[in-house]
Symmetry: C3
Subunit: 676 residues, 3 copies
């Protein structure tokens, strides 16, 4: 349990009373929070300037007051450290807190998430205020959890960062000789003879817009270094807090598939993962599901916090549509079904000015409770009270895992050739989406995860194969596992140096193939995947595009062949029997229909069962606690759907009804089915 | 009359003899001007470097010569002050004249309209040269009007501007406390404790491209400040001139719907409004008409100057098509029909080098008068001589007004959410266009205009409601007026702070509605406006898109409802009887067909009559002088159109024919009909 | 012959052994080079940092070793000077080597082709290393040719460049008075009174993205100046080498239609032209053919080197497709057929890291010879051995020339108006493409070329007419030549100042027309070219777009007229009998069908014969040596084509077969037909 002071699904969100100077408003807030079943408020996210009006003065009285008032009314605090935006006075007095951007421009005061992670000033004062807050509130009964800074992100290219980068590199490589080799600086005569010849890679040196780099090695390391630099800032605050409050968990809110930080590395330093879920108007439901699974996977399945979602609309999308009636509730249970133990909103009360004033909130500008949105929040509040601690700490048990790796993603996207349209996350999501449609539970795992717990492991576009990973895959397959990978895998090592001797490099043995060439065509140009006979659900012909490996089998069996172009008849889908298991290779980027048929076949062969068979547009996910399963059935459609529960008997938690056989699930409706 | 020395429609344009060093050319100029009926030349627009070759030397002999020569040949001078581009020597010696751009880059010498408005050097020397010019030419009989600088525009972000901005803010707000509240700096901890913590909002601080800002308050004030800064530059020159020549009018040429300056504020400082009309290849005729009406509205209906138009093509459009035969004449009369008392061209003679050498001119590169374009100019020249002073000072009488406000426009466009596709000017133009098609005369008015002179006032997207404006609207409606406003109105005050208590804020009472939510969808997604029964021309169903207010009536009547989505059946068009008048609310962005039917209904109910009923593509407008009406009928079509003048008897001014009943108007033809 | 040490078509490419530290790899390289028939390796292209690890140390032992080892194995060296990317230490110690970019940003170390051409440091050290290399290897028997730097390009805007620009201008114009007149600085008051008031034209001064400039004069001169500055760098190295090795030819590799350098000026300083041929996925075959012809034309028909092509795919295109089987061979013979005496690849061995690791190579990452690509290379190697010196030094004899001029291109693209869609190279290619389809051999010539050797000279969009060129054209036509030019010709002189008195200026007399106006429409809007009766293959109606001159004949005959718009019936195609010849004017941008019919007519009238009549998709070109013709027939299609050789008897060089009558040419197949 995140904190057993509040043994239920937490319900609350970001609350900024410091933006108001009105007792009447503050009183209304409390009154309405109670009506909505709000029991947690995230305080102090952006109050640094208020907390520390100048270098020597700290002022927390206002915060004491807010925490106390809420607590007296039964509302706990998720306490932020306020360091996500530095005060204006600090930027003026110590310009080192200001970043230099990708274009090499020194920024001035403004916006947020704006501090250089290697600024001595920022590090000193952010650690100091975290320390002061922890010391002050360490024994306050209201504090459930610490929320360090907010949505860390962005890179800086200032001289302080450049100096720190050189130190980071020296720590990593030891000698310039090793660095020169790791980056292949013999290319274009980029050999470094002194550490301070190395400059930060941005628009002024090795990079251009859109992840284009002339040297992948330095660009990859700079991403690692900046991710680490921000993580160091987080750890400074973490340690300052931990010193005072060993028992209160500490987190920072992540952002799903945000590209710039290696969240698997971050999660190791977090007591609980929390994240902010903001689907865009066109985000597929399965993408959100995948992201929940990924956030759960960051700490190997440990339940996570949904730290932010909007009660209705956002403000920063191009078109900020309302969440339709029922959708916010539906998506809240989607999060819970995939491992969330909290549902928090951004924001509890809408601000009156600046850029987020049109972002949804529990209390809107009209200021009263007679709104559709407020009523939907209150309904969830009421349901969470009813659910109590039933679902808390329940785990998801998956037999299929999909590998996700930020460093691999960076390397893939930095690659110059073969195709600008190769999008790592999109390729991963294609595989996830097929399993989602098949109602197969999936874990999203990092490369350090133990594979032996899974029957099937899928690693789409495993371009970068880290040290020891190929051997790990071999052991997994030898022991009976099914491994699937794709085109553009096995190509490079951790510093983006090609593994010589034939693609897919270290994976060649387990896959039993050699890829002689890689064709790249405009995404509109397709080839066909023609199945040799049939295998399971696979038969006939499918479409593929993007990249096309020209492979030769070396022990593997060709399950399907290209249907056209000069490589017509060459294998496009192969499987290699290896030890007790199988290793599949998908040599091009297939259409959705292929992936459903293919993964259905793979799951059947591996004995992996779907959770339930449901109509299209209905989502399933399951949590398990003490042997009791809780099956979530989520109807994303705009119409009632019939769900065939077969012979099983279930207790539906929200209605306390007993269900079995064919039952009706309303549009946007939710079942939480406890097997009885 | 602008200047009674020349009591007719002035005919001339920008003339740059200083670009030539040839008596032969200058002689040809005069010969051809006479052939074309040119009687005004705008001199000295870009001659600063020539007038002041270094810090201490002034040289106006060349200008004496040109003014005199022209005057001896019957051509008057519109005398510019030459300050729209600083000399190269000044940029080298005093770099403070150079701007810092939106990206924070210090510019070097180049281009035009390039001076920092807060540069001490620029202010000193621009005032000084205006003073010298006024002193020298104050008694010259040729000078009809002063033309200060040229097309003021652009913003600067240098340190001088930043310092001046702090002073401007301090003058406006008095205390930082008030500023912090006005900008809601509690958001994201942006509280300022010292004035010099405030920095100019650009790409390096609060803003990004395309009017995106993290703090609308500072961004809005910076626009006001920069508009004021340039206005201060104008006023320095104005006052320097006025001191010497109290009786010669002073103007500067505006640019229609140019976004960066608050022209209503500027017009107060101008003796007569003048503007440059450059429709793009795809500009609707009604947009040009609207812009003329707006320029007329800047000084409450006072006739204005058309300071620039091209005789044929432009050079800076992507595709610079020729003005087809007759079009330049047609558009000239469009300007006159809407309040222009001058028709001036850019330019009288084409330059031989640099970026405007492919811009149309009265005298083209071929250098003689035997061209289509020259002949069209000469025809107009002849007609203007014939028209004499008949139309001078005639006014336009409109009973319908559309409100246009630059500050509201800035705020609307700076808004983060709900939709990036909301375009203030486009929404205004949609209403104007419907009235244009209905042949209803319109005034474009600012928010300071007296409303009592109108029967119908339309304020599309009145997002920002300035102090006292809601009360003014209430009085107008109480007294019998018809008021129309739309979605995204009544939301904020002058510092972009939301009016709490329910949208549309201060307008809620007069409108009798509450807007609970605002949906935003991609512009391709539409809803329907379904009329409840019918009202006037309104019946059946129309289309709407962009934003969709979910409104509840509070006294108003729902005239039409949404036809689909979860708010199907909620009101989309309401009318509230308030005192003796009515207040309409249009809750979404409707299609053109709706607006024609709706505004026809509104006009009929308010007793507003069209000028005439004419075929599509024919435009009408009317000026009135001493009780005599002059009805302009303008045929934009490529074919002859029949015009039904009914029983009225008219004298057509250009042909001196008597017209009545059904008459034919040639393609691109013009009637100026004096009622007899 | 480029160098008679190797009297055959050279076969080899860029080789970077310094990127490897493995005797095993180096041994494999040699073994595989032999298998592939490689006899030339380009060494030392990017090894500056290795050659000169610090300011005082030079190290060429590694290079001795590589040159010797290759030579011992029968492989010659194309020896580069390594100056195309400066060492990191140099950038640190002497920042003047770093460029300032178009946005005014000082760059940091990174990428390549990165040195400021006016950096004293770069000039000193690049000259010095060229000198040292030449001294060291001047007598080495392996060295066939010098390869100075690599793919010169890019502009710099630093203060050193700005200072040098002022000197360059002062040398060119002598006085500021002349410069002010040449640039027409009277416009916008840009008069310069001191040389140091002039600043480099970039985003901070006169220019914007995409060749937009406010002053064409300065922008045009800056392009000339930067092209000259880089050429000066080349010449410094050239002279340093020439001093030591008077007999070894020197070149640098050009880039076809690369926009930034005036290659006609460069070619004068090169002993042999070499270039790098990288067609994009959608480059028409005729565009590549035109570029070969242009490279041949740089030195008036002298055979050239194909210095780089990829054996299969590239890495820097958006989509890097494989070269399909046979295509690389086909394109190699296309180059040879148009004047290449070498076929070299980038690259002999793929690098393992950095941005070109996915660029095709003779030796791929797999490292062995059993690949499709290697086999295709080896086949060519074998064929070149068989061809021996047969084709070396053979010339192309064309009776039709197309004029291409970089300065005219710059001026055309810098023009503000009439149309942003006017693309000089595209207009030139349209004419070339028609002749390509007609199988008429073409020379691409500069403006200094003697015209008397041609029957037909085509100068599309001859916007800038240089001093004496109009007279040259007149003489050519008077003497019986056929001259063709188009809309937007004859407009300006060399400093972009308009020739007054009527377009097309100096060409008006020979063309016998006057263009009164130039209409510009969106490229989607078309007009018709309606032929008056018929002439040769011309009849009926064709389409045209982009620009539309409104011309009046002054002696010329109107062969076709516009079919619509207000200039319907005005001439669109005219021909003027002038002396013994004819001058044609095409007043708009016609469709491909028109150009084929038009140029067929022109060729017939001029007595120019096609090489052969072949099916569409088959290309012909011919080289001649000592009276013997070698006709290349290249089948770009994916199917066998029948070629009708008529009664001629040929020896096919690659198969040694005797051919005549109708023969079959395989898909992607090549004939080299020696007339017998």
């Amino acid at each position: 349990m995140i904190n057993d002071k509040l043994p239920k699904i937490w319900h609350g969100g970001d609350y900024n009373p410091e933006q108001w100077d009105s007792q009447e408003i503050w009183d209304e807030d409390v009154r309405m929070f109670k009506l909505a079943g709000i029991d947690v408020a995230t305080l102090n996210v952006f109050s640094w300037a208020l907390n520390q009006p100048n270098e020597d003065t700290y002022n927390f009285e206002w915060l004491d007051d807010k925490i106390n008032r809420l607590y007296e009314n039964g509302i706990y605090t998720c306490l932020a450290t306020s360091t996500a935006a530095h005060p204006a006075w600090m930027a003026k007095k110590y310009p080192d807190v200001l970043r230099v951007d990708f274009h090499g421009r020194k920024r001035k005061f403004g916006s947020r998430h704006n501090s250089c992670p290697n600024s001595p000033t920022y590090r000193e004062y952010s650690e100091k205020i975290a320390d002061k807050l922890a010391e002050r509130y360490k024994d306050h009964p209201a504090v459930l959890i610490w929320h360090v800074s907010n949505e860390y992100g962005g890179y800086c290219y200032c001289d302080n960062c450049q100096d720190a980068f050189r130190v980071w590199l020296s720590d990593k490589y030891g000698t310039l000789e090793k660095l020169n080799k790791a980056w292949n600086t013999g290319f274009w005569g980029h050999t470094f003879y002194e550490w301070d010849e190395i400059v930060a890679p941005n628009m002024l040196s090795e990079e251009r817009e859109d992840n284009v780099s002339d040297f992948q090695g330095i660009s990859l390391d700079y991403r690692r270094f900046q991710s680490d630099s921000l993580l160091d800032c987080y750890k400074l605050e973490y340690n300052a807090i931990r010193k005072h409050t060993p028992d209160i968990p500490i987190t920072t809110n992540l952002m799903g598939t945000y590209p710039m930080l290696d969240y698997f590395k971050w999660a190791k330093e977090m007591d609980v993962v929390s994240w902010d879920n903001y689907p865009a108007i066109d985000t597929p439901f399965s993408y959100t599901a995948m992201t929940h699974d990924l956030m759960r996977g960051l700490k190997s399945g440990q339940p996570f916090m949904l730290m932010e979602q909007t009660p209705s609309q956002q403000n920063w999308q191009p078109y900020n549509s309302l969440k339709r009636p029922g959708v916010m509730r539906l998506w809240s249970y989607q999060a819970i079904g995939r491992g969330a133990d909290t549902i928090l909103y951004f924001q509890l009360r809408r601000s009156v000015g600046a850029c987020e004033k049109y972002h949804g909130a529990v209390i809107e500008h009209v200021g009263h409770e007679n709104t559709r949105v407020f009523n939907e929040v209150a309904q969830i509040g009421s349901e969470f009270n009813q659910l109590g601690d039933t679902l808390l700490d329940a785990r998801v048990n998956a037999k299929v895992a999909i590998v996700f790796d930020w460093e691999n993603r960076w390397a893939t996207e930095l690659s110059s050739g073969p195709s600008v349209s190769l999008d790592y996350v999109n390729e991963v999501h294609k595989y996830y989406d097929a399993l989602y449609k098949l109602n197969v539970q999936v874990d999203m795992i990092g490369v350090e995860e133990d594979l032996s717990q899974y029957d099937v492991v899928i690693a789409p576009v495993l371009y970068m194969v880290k040290e020891g990973y190929a051997a790990k895959v071999e052991r997994f397959v030898e022991n009976g596992g099914t491994f699937i990978t794709t085109f553009f895998s096995g190509i490079v090592n951790e510093t983006d140096i090609v593994t010589l001797g034939g693609y897919p490099g270290e994976l060649r043995k387990v896959l039993g193939i050699w890829a002689e060439e890689i064709d790249a065509l405009h995404p509109d140009e397709t080839n066909e995947i023609v199945v040799n006979g049939s295998r399971g659900s696979l038969s006939g012909s499918y479409s593929c595009n993007l990249l096309f490996d020209l492979i030769h089998t070396e022990g593997a069996q060709a399950v399907a062949e290209y249907g056209s172009d000069f490589y017509q008849g060459m294998p496009v889908l192969t499987v290699n029997e290896f030890g007790k298991g199988k290793a599949w290779y998908v040599a091009s980027s297939p259409d959705a229909e292929f992936l459903v048929d293919f993964l259905q076949t793979v799951c059947e062969e591996a004995g992996v069962e779907p959770l339930l068979s449901v109509p299209e547009g209905v989502e399933t996910t399951e949590r398990v606690k003490d042997g009791q399963t809780y099956l979530f059935v989520l109807n994303h459609n705009n119409k009632v759907e019939s769900i065939d529960l077969k012979d099983s008997q279930y207790q539906e938690l929200l209605t306390a009804q007993q269900l079995s056989g064919t039952v009706e699930l309303e549009a946007k409706g939710v079942f939480i089915l406890a097997k009885v």
